[in-house]
């Protein structure tokens, strides 16, 4: 993992000191709420529906065990004993109190963490593939690139007041686990015909009230040109992005209104005017950063016969079948930890569970943990021979749900239960669906499918790219839910199609069940839900959703 250098340490410590002073002045009345609000937001502190909420940055979803234990401690000392993993791989605390927030920031700084740029119209926390550095299908580990972007974008003076927030994701695998096409900039690390590694730059994607799949801005950007080129993109956006209407201020609107060819010309012109050597990063610096992400010392082809033998335990076998992913090193697995028990809010994790995951990471995964945009956690490097012992540890911590990628592995924003922007609740809907499909056998029979729920049009729950996407709205004091079908967050990214009028929560769950039953009756071979949907189209699914079939 990346370790802070003296500059990182100084920046974080000075920011804590600065915010402590700002909070003191606010409490003393030297700052009004209007003056203080942008300052607290720049430190990830929101005032939500019922209380303050603090959003902690987890750069590219990578944590070490010490950091996770510190988050557990913070949740108990200053909050209500739990945290919430967000769809940007961050962690939120729902109940901090203003006078204590500077102490929280100090405790975070002590483990090289902070809340920079988890709010506001700046470049937000860069996200990445939670399997980075572990998966066999990547060209290289994307984390050094993500770290480079973190360093470049952190407190970048030119991009602190953009027209709107700006989200970047990086992946290095053809299987997109970072939803790069739904980001302001998506970066795919690729190889060209000569075998050189560079960047496929995608721009103008995004969800929110105007969902758009990003388009290619640059098919292959040489590695050394990354920062100057992104600087050019950001300058074009900063200059021409709309500031008159916040709903049209994202770069996706600029790209759409300008047209990708004209936008590319503007970027190229800006790039030509730059002095790239001013910000281009040397090979030596890239190498320095990359060294921090060197693979752990894996054993050479460790014996995994114990793993195969342990599969005689049906529960373990089911968990292993569903929650493990292929590792680049023979004899190892990537372990997905579900934070989706059907009776809890997706992504919630208690302090005890955080400590349990940290301990298991130390014991079995070189102390590394990842958070995922699906609101789960990952132990990236577990020896297969240790999987059964790990599973027992997860079971003891009530973290052994075997539903990764299945119908109850629902992405869900906090909704009206916590968020000041929400129009309806999303958590109870998620729980009702998970409850309806709680039978593990039934879930496995249905197979891979995604349900994503947002409690308002801002789409933090990624409903536009769910196989089934649900949007919570409210009319005359009554919640109702609109349904989209056919969305896809993978490398085949697609925006779902709206089905029609909305439903009550109860009608919605019944309608989803009818669609699932229809899929099971209609699928051929190994078709997933999305495959059947693509083959038969939306109409028959709508028929059963509305009970007309």
């Amino acid at each position: 993992m990346y370790r802070y250098d003296e500059f990182d340490h100084d920046v974080v410590q000075s920011r804590v000191k600065q915010f402590r002073g700002q909070v003191k002045r606010r409490l003393e009345g030297a700052l009004t709420e209007e003056q203080f609000r942008p300052l607290r937001l720049q430190n990830g502190l929101y005032l939500q529906l019922h209380a303050y909420m603090l959003r902690v940055a987890v750069p590219y979803g990578t944590l070490n065990s010490k950091q996770l234990r510190q988050l557990a401690m913070i949740s108990e000392k200053y909050d209500r004993g739990y945290g919430h993993v967000t769809t940007r791989q961050n962690m939120q605390f729902n109940w901090p109190q203003l006078p204590e927030v500077p102490d929280i920031l100090q405790d975070l700084a002590d483990v090289e963490m902070h809340c920079f740029q988890t709010s506001g119209n700046c470049i937000r926390n860069v996200t990445s593939d939670p399997y980075a550095g572990a998966t066999a299908d990547e060209i290289e580990d994307p984390r050094p690139t993500a770290e480079l972007l973190r360093q470049w974008s952190t407190m970048h003076p030119e991009f602190a007041f953009l027209p709107r927030k700006f989200k970047i994701a990086v992946t290095a695998a053809p299987n997109d686990r970072a939803v790069i096409k739904a980001h302001d900039i998506g970066i795919e690390i690729v190889k060209n015909e000569k075998g050189e590694v560079g960047y496929h730059i995608i721009v103008g994607g995004g969800l929110g009230r105007t969902p758009i799949i990003g388009v290619t801005l640059n098919e292959f950007l040489p590695r050394e040109e990354l920062l100057p080129y992104l600087e050019a993109v950001m300058r074009v956006y900063n200059r021409y992005g709309r500031r008159d209407n916040k709903y049209k201020a994202r770069i996706k609107i600029l790209v759409t209104e300008t047209g990708i060819d004209a936008f590319r010309q503007m970027v190229d012109a800006e790039y030509e005017s730059l002095e790239p050597s001013d910000i281009a990063v040397s090979e030596a610096e890239i190498s320095r950063i990359t060294d921090y992400f060197a693979s752990p010392q894996f054993e050479d082809a460790p014996d995994d016969s114990a793993f195969e033998a342990a599969k005689s335990d049906e529960d373990f076998a089911n968990w292993a079948d569903n929650n493990l992913s292929a590792h680049k090193q023979a004899g190892y697995s990537i372990v997905n930890i579900s934070l989706k028990p059907h009776d809890r809010a997706p992504g919630d994790v208690t302090a005890d569970q955080m400590r349990a995951v940290a301990d298991l990471a130390d014991k079995y995964s070189f102390g590394e943990i990842r958070t995922t945009h699906q609101q789960n956690m990952v132990l990236p490097h577990v020896k297969k021979a240790d999987l059964q012992a790990l599973y027992e540890g997860l079971k003891a911590a009530e973290l052994a749900a075997d539903n990764i990628g299945l119908i109850s592995d629902i992405i869900c924003c906090p909704g009206m239960d916590y968020c000041a922007l929400a129009t309806a609740r999303s958590i109870p809907v998620s729980q009702a669906i998970a409850e309806r499909f709680s039978d593990p056998k039934r879930q496995r029979a249905i197979g891979e499918m995604s349900i994503k729920i947002s409690g308002c049009i801002n789409a933090c729950g990624h409903h536009h790219v769910g196989n089934i996407g649900i949007l919570g709205l409210e009319k005359a004091g009554v919640e109702f839910y609109q349904v989209k079908l056919g969305g896809d967050s993978s490398e085949n990214a697609a925006i779902g199609q709206v089905t029609g009028p909305g439903f009550s929560q109860e009608e919605l769950v019944d309608g989803i069940e009818r669609m699932v039953d229809f899929y099971l009756d209609s699928r051929t071979g190994a078709e997933k839900f999305i495959d059947t949907f693509k083959r038969v189209g939306i109409d028959p699914f709508k028929e059963v959703l509305y009970g007309n079939a």
């Binding site: 709420e33 529906l49 019922h50 209380a51 739990y82 729902n94 809010a345 302090a351 729980q431 009554v478």
Partner: protein, 90 residues
């Protein structure tokens, strides 16, 4: 009249004795213009004094006596799912 406490951030409502309560049951419900004016001035004073932030009046359903707007009803009831309550019980 409702607001959020500056320090804790919790939702609060102005009571008949013109103090702030985290319990909606204590909230003053009135259509009397004189009392409304008095409530506004107290809210302005307490915003100025950095006791509360974002003070505003809400409409009440005359039958249920609960806030008319869905969002405001939620500020009264609190989240329908708070893991903190479960942890506290344990």
């Amino acid at each position: 009249m409702t607001a959020n406490e500056l320090r804790e951030g919790y939702s609060v409502w102005l009571t008949e004795d013109l103090t702030w309560s985290t319990d909606y049951a204590d909230a003053a419900l009135t259509e009397d213009p004189e009392i409304i004016a008095k409530m506004q001035s107290v809210a302005d004073r307490d915003v100025e004094a950095n006791e509360v932030v974002g003070a505003y009046f809400i409409d009440i359903d005359p039958e249920t006596k609960l806030p008319a707007r869905y969002r405001e009803r939620f500020r009264v009831t609190g989240p329908s799912n708070d893991l903190g309550e479960e942890i506290e019980k344990d």
